[in-house]
Amino acid sequence: MIAGLDHENNAKAIEAQAVEWLIARDEHQTWTDEDQQRLDAWLAQSPAHMTAFWRVEASWNRTELIADIRPFGFGADQPQPRGLPWLVFFRVAASLGLFAVLGVGGYLYFARPTVETFATPIGGRKIVTLFDGSQIELNTDTVLQISSNQREVALIKGEALFQIRHDAEHPFSVSVAGHKVTDLGTKFLIRTNQGGLRVALVEGRARIEPDNGAQDQIATLVPGDVAVATKTSLAVTKKSEQELRDELAWQKGILIFNNTPLTDAAAEFNRYNTVKIVVGDPNADHLKINGAIHANDGEEFARLAKNLFELRAEQRGNEIIIGSLDVH
């Protein structure tokens, strides 16, 4: 399995299933022979299931030694101050990138059951996992609010990828730039800037409608659809699966360009970096670039432009100037 749009089979999803089996089996009182048969069948389905289960089981089994270290200061009977250790944990975890790696954002969410705001800085990414397993991945420079029932979200700024478990009785909706996007069983990407929004539908279906109720600006999106909306307009175009996959490369910290004008590529790149690329040479406009680049590596971008087009690159403060802008 290669990482990509197939999120059912990715390592995280399989690990989540393996853990679910593991902790269910640990409830000896309720674990039945039928449960064991179902677990055996799941394990036999694929080596990925088998090895993922072995891995979480082995680390789980090691905790039997906890009893031996309790004299050194562990135990449920020792009251733990509630607030501060959480914060320390979150700081440590955030610095280790634990939330992104482990997907325990839902756990974080659970700890604070009110309306919650999540934000990423420039160049940051964050995954929020909701109770039902739905996931929202925030891209760079993004602000998102989640209601306490976890079914209403507001994208205030930036870009986020939504992978939503559909529940017909409790529809999931995103408010963004004067519109409402409602999931109908869906994976979709929403980006907002300058009062407009763009929705790319990866899987399933979603409905977009403006808050003003204008009938001609309502659409149901199917996979491959890209809707661009402003206060007064709606346009839907098609993209191939490969194009969508490239567009989601930011999840891996990568930007992929296909015949992208250098100026557009620089603008895209600048969303992720505080050191901005400035394309100084007006003649650079017609230059197009192809390829993959790490989103947080300004020097790499400058080097690429330099090597590809023999442009000069010079850093001045918080700008890297590419091209001939009053350099010569």
């Binding site: 399995m1 290669i2 990482a3 990715n10 390592a11 995280k12 399989i14 690990e15 853990v19 902790i23 640990d26 409830e27 009182q29 055996d40 036999a44 694929s46 080596p47 990925a48 088998m50 090895t51 993922a52 072995w54 891995r55 979480v56 082995a58 680390s59 789980w60 090691r62 905790t63 039997e64 030694l65 906890i66 031996d68 270290i69 309790r70 050194f72 562990f74 135990g75 449920a76 733990q80 101050p81 509630r82 959480w86 944990f89 440590v92 610095s95 280790l96 634990l98 992104a100 790696v101 482990l102 325990v104 756990y107 990414r125 999840q251 891996k252 910290g253 993959a292 790490h294 790499e300």
Partner: protein, 198 residues
Amino acid sequence: MVETPDTRRKTDNPHPEDAGVSTHDLKAWFVREVLPLEASLVQFLRQSRLHGEDIADLRQDVYVRIYERASKQIPLSTKPFVFAIARNLVIDWYRHNRIVPIEGVADLESIEIASDEPGADRRAIARDELRHLKNALDHLPPRCREALILKRVEKLTRPEIAQRMGISENTVKVHLTAAAHLLADILYRDKSDLGGNP
């Protein structure tokens, strides 16, 4: 592991057509020899310029390939076997994702040097098991740790834990689930990643 006919338990093997090694032996080998290499493996994937979820996905692909190959015959030497598989899968991944690696796949030599003492990973884990475990527990949120201890040490049931902690059974499940995920990642992660621990 040397395989002898009487250690085979074919009924355990979900893929009898592979029938070389019993699932029982394969699992014992995997837990004893492969999992302790996970820190080095993840380091290798990171040095190959993979990020985020791709590391977990590639790691899974490596384990699957190890399972498939080792189920025919368990290799004499685990580490070169694991890293040869990892290297091939990283190259496949680059190709599949149409990414031209600017600096290429991480140098296998550098990984070997990073832990060149034979069996260092394994011995370190055996020697430091308790310290390592305590360190992992330090990284769990307090309530999550509390639920884990009630489950694994006190051997309480979920309803009993719920009552003891004054929370719902479902919340106990959330705590235990989070604990299982965190433990797997912390216990198999490179200790140097954890930085200045308490």
